[in-house]
Symmetry: D2
């Protein structure tokens, strides 16, 4: 049983379309692994293109995944015609982001009319084991979408 009741019966299609409109996600190789009301898992393969000086995935890239997981998780609970933006987030880096694949799992902690608070965790998968590498708490804001195409055309 899902913890949250979506206000938009098309939440899955709308959230997926918003995700797909984010060119950054494509460039980073991040895709949706699971999407439920208030819960989203994103997945990213390791790429040397996004590493820091020790070959681990850069903290900013891990943050991009965490932030996006939070944003889509919050977005699944918003009414039709919404757009979403990140107000702020805080990330703790707990272990080197070393692995073949990374999962970003976000959950809504408190949905709200204006602000929604989410928590997310990043896990690195290496040799079949999963390590917690980072946490995020983020605040997202729902807005009325400005125009019919604004979240589709990506410009």
């Amino acid at each position: 049983m899902p913890r949250f009741e979506p206000k938009n019966p098309d939440y899955r299609a709308v959230a997926t379309a918003t995700f797909a409109a984010q060119r950054a996600m494509r460039t980073l190789g991040i895709s949706i692994a699971r999407i439920e009301p208030g819960e989203v898992d994103l997945s990213m393969a390791y790429s040397p293109d996004f590493t820091q000086q020790n070959g681990f995935v850069h903290a900013g890239i891990i943050t991009a995944g965490l932030d996006n997981a939070c944003g889509i998780a919050a977005f699944t609970l918003m009414p039709p015609g919404s757009d979403i933006l990140t107000v702020e987030f805080k990330t703790n880096l707990l272990a080197p982001a070393r692995g073949e694949r990374f999962m970003f799992r976000a959950t809504v902690v408190k949905p709200g009319r204006t602000l929604t608070v989410c928590e997310a965790r990043a896990f690195a998968e290496e040799d079949g084991a999963e390590t917690l590498v980072a946490t995020m708490t983020g605040t997202l804001m729902g807005l009325a979408r400005r125009g019919p195409a604004s979240s589709q055309d990506g410009k």
Copy 2:
């Protein structure tokens, strides 16, 4: 007069080499614009590859620039043989990251033997005007570098 006295006379070369060893920075098109003891400015051109659904630069990418500016700023004050890692950071997104170019300006607030706290601001440049788009407070940790090549080979 610089606010801080570097412990490593080669701080500029070492910080620049560490930055250059970060493949993520190259991929994101981020370069060093200014480097002084405890202060670093990074610069990034707009690229549609790193945008969110409204065509603005993704919050995670802005965070990557802010985090790296903090990391290099902290690194300039570390003794020879140091490596650096980010412990945590917090970002507030203040305005859409819309512009032709972005600047990430970081300053050390409190250097420490183990932990260094930095603040950074991201500015978007558009039509000759600069807008503050995000702030970061971050905690960085200095470590003894593990091996002669660990921060050079980037793997």
Copy 3:
């Protein structure tokens, strides 16, 4: 010249009254030292009643001062009939909070219709010297006040 133009000509009286309605501030011995549009300094004398195990002022008490300075600073820029609440904040503790007196200095970084972002710094005064002991970045939210007495009677 003030950086911000208040929307409420009575900003000073309203902000002072809201502060005075906070019994926590009286209990903690915190008072307003300076109030300008978007800028507030609060002052607190050391009291052993609010110390942690080493005799320094407890981080939560320092946070109460920082948060309140942010809240009042944001409040000075709100339209008449507003109430204010804290959405979130992040505090870095930089040095032991040891001193005879503490100052909490807050500045609005970005005012907004719904959300206002502030930064604040806590300083300890000891033997005539001032030490930076903590920083805060906080997000505040303006609301229409619910009833004529809700922010005056303090219950």
Copy 4:
């Protein structure tokens, strides 16, 4: 089965003594409700002395409880002879802190030799129901205690 193995067999006595040495906790009326390796619950009765302008408990006081729960939770996992200090924390305020009693529940997320990351949640109890009112993520640092009495005399 506890999730963590304490390094100090006397963890409970030492953590309790450190808590008892914090005069701020006594003044705020906060006491230990539960203490296990890496997990601590603190309890606080409502007092009008610590309210903000609407009669809810002040965010700084809620933060003091959350921070202390994190600190003691981290402390239970530290080796003998340790002292502990808070590096930083981030708090989201989710609902008005209205109730007869408040619980602050902290868990260690990642223990470390130098740094320990904890998460905590504050709940308000009113008419037998519990409401989540705030969350914290905090970073704590373990130190060798400076002298035999340093964390005991503290006044």
